[in-house]
Amino acid sequence: MENMNEIKAFAAKIRIAAIEAIHAIGQGHIGGALSMADALAVLYGREMRYDPKNPKWPDRDKLVVSKGHAGPAVYGTLALLGFFPYEQLKTMNRPHTNLPSHCDRNKTPGVDMTTGSLGQGTSLAAGMALGDKLKGRDNRVFLIVGDGESNEGQVWEAFAFAAAKKLGNLVVLLDWNKRQLDGWTKDVYPMGDYVAKFEAFGFDTVKVDGNDVEAVAAALERTRAGGDKPYAIVLDTVKGAGVAEVAEKTMNHSLPVSDEQYERWTAQLRAEIEALEG
């Protein structure tokens, strides 16, 4: 997808798919799934190299969603791309499902790493990037980290490691959606200036509007150069982006989705897609 309207429509479809999965079980991690839908659309729409028919292809680009609770958005993306049937989204969190609340590489085709215990995906991604580099692969590893997640000390151990080992094939996207489970991050546990932190750690760093696919696409394009520094893209996002009613709620980490809300929200997103696709 080179056309930005296509990417925007893909992001809206990811939102619908995530809402489908959450609505089917009645409740889920909707806020942080919606905030990163645009980044997922750019990553899978134009930046990453992968094959839905061969999800374990060693030379593929890999994505580690360390904020593993954003599973619904990841599953929506993978289903839209044909990694597994779209209908499976409705099985999320039900017994014997392949789509557990938090991402699991052993259950879901296309999920590159098991995550969910916050912080742990960062070191895993660093190890995967180092391993791919040592194996002589020319792929990249993308890592999505939550801003609340960055309270975890392991995140910063992993960032120090990535810079020390010159992992230019690692791209960190920090979903700065400014909210965590207990409320606004500025109230719960303020972490300061992420751009300054990443730069101090030795990352090639930019901050962009993370809900603007063109800005995210441009930031990701820069990272194709590789080199000796890992990349950080601070995504300035809104938790719940794309569904105003969710975004307006401060406490939107996990919410129930009623039948009426499901109909209204998905209808609105479908109208956006129609407008984009003309």
């Binding site: 060693p58 699991d104 590489r105 052993n106 590159d112 790493m113 098991t114 969910g116 215990s117 742990q120 960062t122 070191s123 895993l124 991604a125 660093a126 190890g127 995967m128 990037a129 180092l130 391993g131 791919d132 040592l134 194996k135 000390g153 392991q154 151990e157 992993a158 120090a160 490691f161 020390a164 080992k165």
Partner: protein
């Protein structure tokens, strides 16, 4: 496999064995990769690591990250061998071991050096009496308490290609020589070191030598004590436990570990289910470690041959 125990020390220090075996394994298998947390100089790998930076990754003093990186390397197709001191290889990073390696099915081998009283002059902060108990809770894990340098080489090579998380606890210094050079010790199979009929002593690690010495003492008193090396604490050789317990009717367990959660717990679980048998333990009571030379610490925590013999006498009275 040949048993050559005569009470003398194996001339090799285990740190030297690690320093030779890890590079040798890396030379033989391009997928072997070694990670350490700023303790390469403690096991003699530093010089080789400096010459092979693509095979030996110094992760700095950040064990949780090291384990996650190792798990990521496993996902990329490597067979990681991770080393740090026992407490940091267990308590410090266990959530990462549990989820990033175990749950996510990223197979890694972890070496925790200086278990229990072998931490000697590093003292209580560095003295893990609980690492076996921690690792035993990890589904599918392999947990090994090494007996001597020959066994160390054998189990390291087996762990490389064995699925799941493998935890090897081993002191860096000398051990009593038990197995002839080149012996292979299949993981999961207990080894009978000494036959006996009155009481069986299940021992591991440094307590093998103490158990053998105790058995010699007991023989002078007319007590026939068997000694069985239970080096694989998980998966435990259940049949060996049951067979020996039935044969002798009295059990002693000797381990350089807290009495909670380690070999004594593992053996007791089997006895309770399969063949209730009087048992006694030679292990650390529910205590923290402290500083001192190993001889002092073995006395302090009750980990000597005399303690093993006394436990045997006491359990025989309950037979």
């Amino acid at each position: 496999m040949k048993i050559v125990y005569d009470g003398t020390l194996d001339p090799r220090q285990c740190k030297a064995v690690l320093g030779e075996t890890i590079p040798a394994m890396a030379a033989e298998d391009p997928d072997v990769i070694y990670l350490d947390a700023d303790l390469m100089n403690c096991i003699g790998t530093a010089k080789w690591a400096a010459e092979h930076p693509e095979r030996a990754i110094n992760c700095g003093i950040a064990e949780a990250n090291m384990v996650g990186v190792a798990a990521g390397l496993a996902a990329a197709g490597f067979k990681p061998i991770v080393h740090t001191f026992g407490p940091f290889a267990s308590r410090r990073c266990f959530d990462q071991v549990f989820l990033s390696a175990g749950y996510a099915k990223n197979d890694i081998t972890i070496i925790g050096t200086d278990p229990g009283v072998t931490a000697t002059l590093n003292g209580g902060t560095h003295m893990p009496f609980e690492d076996v108990g921690i690792y035993r809770t990890l589904p599918g894990a392999t947990v090994i308490d090494v007996t001597d340098p020959t066994m160390l080489i054998s189990v390291l090579r087996q762990c490389k290609d064995r699925p799941g998380v493998k935890y090897i606890r081993v002191g860096r210094k000398q051990y009593a020589r038990v197995y002839a050079d080149g012996s292979e010790l299949p993981i999961g199979k207990a080894v009978t070191l000494r036959e006996g009929t009155d009481v069986v002593i299940f021992a591991v690690g440094i307590m093998i030598h103490e158990a053998m010495q105790a058995a010699i003492e007991l023989e002078k008193e007319g007590v026939s004590a068997a000694v069985v090396d239970m080096f694989t604490i998980k998966p435990l050789d259940v049949e060996a436990v049951v067979d020996w317990a039935k044969k002798c009717g009295a059990v002693v367990v000797a381990e350089n570990h807290n009495r909670n959660g380690g070999l004594y717990s593992a053996v007791s679980e089997v006895l309770a289910e399969r063949c209730p048998t009087p048992a006694a333990v030679v292990a650390v009571e529910d205590e923290f470690g402290e500083v001192g030379p190993q001889g002092y610490l073995q006395e302090r925590f009750g980990l000597t041959a005399a303690h093993v013999a006394e436990a045997a006498r006491s359990v025989l009275k309950r037979k």
